[in-house]
């Protein structure tokens, strides 16, 4: 039953499975928000189109590329830890963190731009808009906000992994912590892969 030929940590398969199960619950968590989005966009297609027209597609594309590349760098950190190159692995983890931080900075600019226009949940300016637009912005803040929170938490966890990697707690024989961190980060990336076209590219 235990994977043969690989000397990983105790209950490697169990730990991996546990992470996947957690990700399934996260998937369903975001599913509820995507469901709201689907229904309201179906009911207010024109309003959604109008509201999305103000989104900065360049920034959104940059953010997408950032997360995609950060997933690559984190995958590279796992490849290198398997080769017992701890310092190089920590470097790739650091690269992932930097890209994640830039993503959050971009998000800050986007949110700041909207808030400076008076478009935040419950604002008088927003409440004068069409109902569909109010829903769009509500969903925008909640979904990108919660996603951003996940990015932030992911960065914190990866930072901790950097520490463990450099200290030698994560080795080429026992790197399940890093692997699970990778799974979490890739999941966050996938959520953004769907958020991007749904909020930025409504033609």
């Amino acid at each position: 039953m235990i994977a043969t030929g690989t000397a990983h940590s105790i209950d490697y398969r169990g730990k991996k499975l546990g992470m996947w199960l957690f990700l399934f619950t996260e998937l369903l968590f975001f599913a509820a928000l995507f469901l709201l989005y689907a229904v309201f966009r179906y009911q207010y297609p024109q309003d959604f189109h109008n509201a999305a027209g103000h989104e900065n597609i360049v920034l959104g594309t940059v953010n997408t590329l950032l997360l995609l590349t950060s997933s690559l760098t984190l995958a590279l950190s796992i490849t290198t830890i398997k080769e017992a190159k701890n310092r190089l692995s920590a470097f790739w983890q650091g690269a992932t963190i930097i890209q994640g931080c830039i993503f959050l900075v971009d998000k800050y600019f986007e949110w700041a731009a909207k808030i400076s226009l008076g478009l935040y949940p419950g604002s008088p300016i927003l409440l004068e808009r069409n109902h569909g637009e109010i829903l769009y912005y509500g969903l925008y803040y909640v979904m990108t906000g919660i996603h951003g929170l996940h990015v932030f938490l992911g960065i914190a966890v990866i930072a901790y992994m950097v520490k463990l990697t450099l200290r030698g707690n994560i080795t080429d024989q026992d790197f399940i912590k890093l692997e699970n961190t990778g799974l979490y980060w890739h999941f966050v990336d996938i959520i953004w892969i769907y958020l991007f076209p749904l909020f930025y590219l409504i033609t």
Binding site: K16, L17, W20, L21, F24, L27, L28, A31, F34, L35, A38, V39, R41, Y42, Q43, I57, T61, T64, L65, L68, T69, S71, L72, L74, A75, L76, T79, G182, L183, H186, F187, D189, I190, I193, Y194, F196, P197, L198, L201, I202, T203
Partner: protein, 81 residues
């Protein structure tokens, strides 16, 4: 790994360009379809699903199916209001 990095990056760029061309009502489906391919690539290679046992792949399929089902069944209601 580098191959897939390049592929995923390419896909990201292509999607951005593809959507600048105004599509019809099927833009949502097209967007979701391309996004799903990208997500599929991330799951398969970055998340090493290729190397996982069949049981895990089945669990993921189940989770995604439930996701899709929730949205589909809700729309059966929404469509006929």
């Amino acid at each position: 790994m580098f191959v897939w990095g390049a592929l995923v990056l390419l896909l990201g760029a292509t999607v951005a360009v593809a959507h600048l061309h105004l599509l019809a009502k099927y833009s949502v489906l097209a967007a979701l379809f391309i996004a799903s391919i990208k997500a599929g690539l991330v799951v398969t290679f970055f998340m090493h699903l290729v190397h996982e046992e069949a049981r895990l792949k089945l669990m993921l399929l189940l989770a995604v199916s439930i996701f899709t089902l929730i949205i589909a069944v809700t729309f059966i209601d929404i469509w006929y209001r």
